[in-house]
C-alpha cells in the first residue's frame, strides 16, 4: 500500500443534513468545483489535513435519501458508489445525519454498511431550539451498528478532530453486514448473477439487478444476464426496492426505540408558527412575489454600483494603454479586443455574487422549499417549478446569473425548460436599445390617459417577453420527452439561520466557475468580433480611410470629427461591414437595411452594443443619444426615398430585440450549464426563428 497516499473520504447523507457545512469546515476555501461525468451536477472536492501530517482528499456527494434513486443527484450517488473504481478504492465514508430525524437517516446508512464501505457516522445537531431535541445514547448506537459514532458540528468544527484522528488508521475495521437477506429478489437469481459476474457482495449485486439500466459501466455480459434472469424469474425492480426499504425500516425502528428518547415539547413549534403566515395560500404567495421583486431589485440596482466601478476601471485602463502605447493594431487588440472582452466577463461578477448570496439565504433558511410548494400548481403547467421563478425574475436584470441559478432545480427537464426560456425575459441590456427605438417611434410628450405613451410601450415590450417565455415553456413541455419522474413530494425542513460561511463560499465558487468556464467562450467571441470589425477584405479599409481623410481633412471642424468619420468608414469596409451588406437580402423582408445588419452583428456581443454601433455608423461622437436619434430619424433609404426608421421598421427592430438571443455571454453560460452544444444551438435557433418570424409579421402589418 502506498503510505504517502491516504484513502479518499466521501461525504454522504440526506439533503438538509448539514453536509455542506461539514465539507466547508473540513476543506476550507481551497475547493474544486466541477461536474460529475456527463451530467451537470456539482462535484465538489477538497483536501483536509490529518493529525499524522498526511492530507486526505474529500469528495462531497449530493444529498441523497437512499440507494434507490428518484432524482438526477441520487442517480449520481448510486453510480459513484457502485462504480468499479470506487468499489476497488473503498474510500472512507463520513455519513452525516441530523439528530432530529435519526430514524430516516439510518436507512441510507444501513445500505452503505451492506456495501462494505468503511462508514463513520457523524451526528449533527439542529441549531434552532425549535426542534424536539432527542436524547441519543451514542454508545449504544455505536455498539448496535458496530461503526464509530461522533457528534459533530459543521459550523464550529467541533468533533471533526476526533473524526480525523480516527481516519489516520490505515485499515479501519469494517462493520458486519447489517442484513444478510435480500428482500424481493429470489436467491437463485441473486446467486446466479453473483457467480457469473464474480461479485462477492450480495447487496452490491442486488443493486446492480435493481438498477442495471442506470449503470452505464456494467459489462454487456452482465446486463444481458440480468435482463434474461429478470424475465425468467418475473423479477420486478420496484417491488424489490420497496421490500428492501421496508425490511430496513423494520430493523431500524427497534434500534431507534432503544437508543433515542424523544423529547416532546408542549408548545407549538417555531417553524409551525412562521409557516402559518409564510405558507398561507394568499399571504404566502404575496410574500413570495415580494421576495422575487427584492431579488430583482438587488441585482438590478445594488449590483449597478460595483458594475460601474468595473466599467470605469476598464475604460480608465484602456485610456492609459492608448495614452502610453503607440496608435497601432496591437494597441487596438489590447484595448478593444482583450480588455473589452475581459470587462465583458468581470462585469457579471457582482450580479452573480449577489444573486447566489440571496439564493443561498433562501435555500439555507428552508424558505425555498415553501416557495416551491406554494407555486407548484401554477408552475407545473409550464413544466417548471418554484425555483424557476427565481431564474425568471432574475432574468429581468440579467439572463447570465439567472441561468446559473437554474442549477438548484433538480429535475433535469424542469431545469432545461427554465434555461431555455429565461433569455426571453427582457433584461437590463435591452433597455438602452428599447429606449432609443421607442423615442424614434413615440414623441416624449404623448400620453394615453394618465400614462406616458413611451412608458406604456416599454411595459408592453416587457410583457411580450414574459408571455413568450411562458408560451414557449408550455410548448417545450409537450415537445421534450424524458423518463424522469415528475413529482413534488419533498421535505419542508425546519427554519434555521443560514450558515454565512457556506453562503460566501458558494457565491465565490459560482463566480469562479463563470469566469473560468463561460469566460473562455466570451473572450473568444469577443476577440473574433474585434477581428471582424478591425480587418477588411484586401485594402478596402485603408482606401476608405484615406478617402475620408482626403475629403474631410480641411473641412472637418476638429480632429474628433475627423476621427468619427474615419471610424465610420473603417467599420463600413471591415469584414463585419461586408457581412452586414451581405445579409441585407435576408433582413430586408423584416425591414432592416445593411446598416442595421452591421449593428445586429456587433450587438451579438451584448445587446447594448447596438447603440454604440449605430453611433459609429451615423458618425456620432461620444455618448449623445439625442443627436443619434435625430440622425437616425432623418436617415432616408436611397432606394425608396422614405425614412429608414419608419414605424414598421422600428417596431420590427423592437420585436427582434425582445426575442433574439443577441448575447454571447448568455450563450456561453447556457453551454456551461447544459453541458451540451446541442441545446445551446437549439436555443439560439429557436430564438432567432422566433425573432425573425415575429419581426416579419409586425413589419408586414405596419408597412
Amino acid at each position: 500500500m502506498n503510505m504517502l497516499h491516504s484513502k479518499k473520504l466521501y461525504l454522504v447523507g440526506n439533503p438538509n443534513s448539514g453536509k455542506t457545512s461539514v465539507f466547508n469546515s473540513l476543506t476550507g476555501l481551497y475547493q474544486k468545483v466541477g461536474n460529475f461525468a456527463g451530467v451537470t451536477v456539482d462535484k465538489k472536492t477538497g483536501h483536509t489535513a490529518l493529525p499524522n501530517g498526511k492530507t486526505m482528499e474529500v469528495v462531497d456527494l449530493p444529498g441523497t435519501y437512499s440507494l434507490h434513486p428518484t432524482s438526477a443527484e441520487e442517480f449520481i450517488v448510486l453510480q459513484t458508489l457502485l462504480h468499479p473504481d470506487t468499489l476497488a478504492d473503498k474510500p472512507n465514508l463520513l455519513y452525516i445525519a441530523d439528530s432530529a430525524n435519526l430514524e430516516r437517516h439510518l436507512l441510507f446508512l444501513t445500505q452503505l454498511i451492506c456495501l462494505q464501505y468503511p462508514v463513520i457516522l457523524g451526528i449533527t445537531m439542529t441549531d434552532l431550539s425549535d426542534q424536539d431535541v432527542p436524547t441519543i445514547d451514542y454508545e449504544q448506537l455505536s455498539k448496535t451498528l458496530q461503526i464509530p459514532v461522533f457528534v459533530i458540528n459543521g459550523r464550529t468544527g467541533e468533533g471533526l478532530n476526533d473524526v480525523k484522528q480516527y481516519l489516520t488508521q490505515q485499515n479501519p475495521p469494517l462493520a458486519p453486514l447489517f442484513m444478510t437477506h435480500v428482500a424481493g429478489i429470489e436467491s437463485r437469481m441473486l446467486n446466479t448473477v453473483m457467480e457469473q459476474s464474480g461479485r462477492s457482495n450480495y447487496y452490491e449485486t442486488a443493486l446492480v439487478i435493481e438498477h442495471f439500466e442506470h449503470l452505464p459501466f456494467l459489462s454487456e455480459k452482465e446486463t444481458t444476464l440480468v435482463k434474461q434472469l429478470s424475465n425468467q424469474f418475473g423479477f420486478q425492480s420496484l417491488h424489490a426496492q420497496i421490500a428492501d426499504t421496508m425490511q430496513r425500516f423494520d430493523r431500524i425502528m427497534p434500534i431507534i426505540q432503544k437508543t433515542v428518547k424523544p423529547e416532546q415539547k408542549e408548545t407549538k413549534h417555531f417553524t409551525h408558527k412562521i409557516d402559518q403566515w409564510l405558507t398561507n395560500p394568499i399571504g404566502g404567495l404575496i410574500f413570495f412575489v415580494l421576495v422575487l421583486f427584492g431579488i430583482f431589485q438587488a441585482i438590478f440596482s445594488f449590483a449597478s454600483y460595483p458594475m460601474d466601478w468595473i466599467e470605469q476601471f476598464f475604460s480608465e485602463t484602456s485610456r492609459l494603454v492608448e495614452l502610453y502605447l503607440p496608435d497601432s493594431m496591437l494597441t487596438s487588440l489590447l484595448t478593444d479586443g482583450l480588455l473589452a472582452g475581459l470587462s465583458g466577463i468581470v462585469i457579471f461578477v457582482p450580479q452573480i455574487a449577489i444573486l447566489f448570496l440571496l439564493i443561498g439565504i433562501l435555500e439555507e433558511t428552508g424558505y425555498m422549499a415553501r416557495a416551491v410548494y406554494l407555486s407548484d400548481s401554477l408552475m407545473r403547467r409550464f413544466g417548471m417549478n418554484g425555483r424557476s421563478l427565481v431564474s425568471l425574475f432574475s432574468g429581468m436584470a440579467c439572463a447570465v446569473p439567472a441561468i446559473m441559478a437554474a442549477r438548484t432545480i433538480s429535475n433535469p427537464k424542469e431545469r432545461l425548460l427554465t434555461i431555455m426560456v429565461t433569455p426571453l425575459i427582457s433584461c437590463s441590456a435591452r433597455i438602452p436599445v428599447f429606449t432609443i427605438l421607442i423615442a424614434l417611434l413615440i414623441p416624449a410628450h404623448y400620453s394615453i390617459g394618465f400614462f406616458n405613451a413611451q412608458g406604456l410601450m416599454m411595459l408592453a415590450l416587457y410583457l411580450t417577453g414574459i408571455l413568450a417565455a411562458l408560451v414557449i415553456a408550455a410548448i417545450l413541455k409537450k415537445v421534450i420527452h424524458t423518463n424522469d419522474l415528475s413529482f413534488l413530494a419533498m421535505e419542508l425542513p425546519p427554519y434555521r439561520m443560514p450558515h454565512w460561511k457556506n453562503l460566501f463560499i458558494n457565491a465565490a465558487q459560482k463566480v469562479k466557475v463563470f469566469v473560468t468556464e463561460a469566460g473562455k467562450i466570451i473572450l473568444i467571441i469577443s476577440l473574433l468580433l474585434w477581428v471582424l470589425a478591425n480587418f477588411g477584405p484586401g485594402d478596402k479599409m485603408q482606401h476608405a480611410e484615406n478617402e475620408v481623410i482626403r475629403q474631410y481633412e480641411t473641412s472637418a471642424a476638429d480632429n474628433t470629427e475627423l476621427d468619427v468619420k474615419i471610424a465610420e468608414a473603417r467599420l463600413q469596409n471591415s469584414y463585419i461591414g461586408h457581412l452586414g451588406k451581405w445579409i441585407e437580402p435576408v433582413i430586408q423582408p423584416i425591414g432592416f437595411d445593411w446598416k442595421i445588419g452591421i449593428a445586429l452583428l456587433t450587438s451579438f456581443a451584448a445587446r447594448e452594443v447596438f447603440v454604440g454601433t449605430m453611433a459609429t455608423i451615423y458618425s456620432v461622437g461620444g455618448n449623445d443619444d439625442t443627436t443619434l436619434r435625430q440622425k437616425m430619424s432623418r436617415e432616408i433609404n436611397p432606394k425608396t426615398n422614405l425614412p429608414v426608421f419608419n414605424t414598421a421598421t422600428t417596431l420590427s427592430l423592437l420585436v427582434f430585440y425582445i426575442f433574439a438571443m443577441q448575447c454571447m455571454s448568455t450563450l456561453a453560460v447556457v453551454k456551461r450549464e447544459t453541458n451540451s452544444w446541442k441545446w445551446t444551438f437549439v436555443q439560439l435557433a429557436y430564438m432567432t426563428i422566433l425573432a425573425y418570424g415575429a419581426s416579419w409579421i409586425v413589419f408586414r402589418i405596419f408597412q
Binding site: 430514524e103 425500516f249 398561507n280 407548484d376 400548481s377 413534488l488 421535505e491
Partner: protein, 80 residues
C-alpha cells in the same frame, strides 16, 4: 366493507394513522421521506389551486401533491 381512505381526503388538523403505501414509482420516495406505516399523518395546510398539501408526518413536515397523498392509505379514529 369500509372503502379505502387515502391521505388526500383527510380533514384539516384531523390526524390519521398510515397503514400502507400503494405501489407506484413514488412508493420508495414516500417511504424515504418518512411516510411509514404506523406513523401519524395530519394535513396542516393547502396551497392555492387544486394541488399541493402541507402535511405533518411524525415530527416531519412534507409537501405533497394531492395525487401523491392519494397513494398513502390511512385509518382514522372512526374506522376503528
Amino acid at each position: 366493507m369500509i372503502p379505502i381512505q387515502t391521505a388526500d381526503s383527510l380533514l384539516f388538523n384531523k390526524p390519521a394513522l398510515i397503514t400502507a403505501i400503494q405501489t407506484s414509482p413514488l412508493t420508495v420516495k414516500l417511504l424515504q421521506l418518512g411516510c411509514l406505516p404506523g406513523k401519524q399523518i395530519t394535513i396542516l395546510r393547502k396551497a392555492i389551486g387544486n394541488s399541493p398539501i402541507y402535511v405533518q408526518v411524525g415530527t416531519l413536515y412534507l409537501a405533497l401533491r394531492a395525487e401523491e397523498a392519494a397513494q398513502i392509505i390511512v385509518e382514522t379514529e372512526l374506522d376503528k
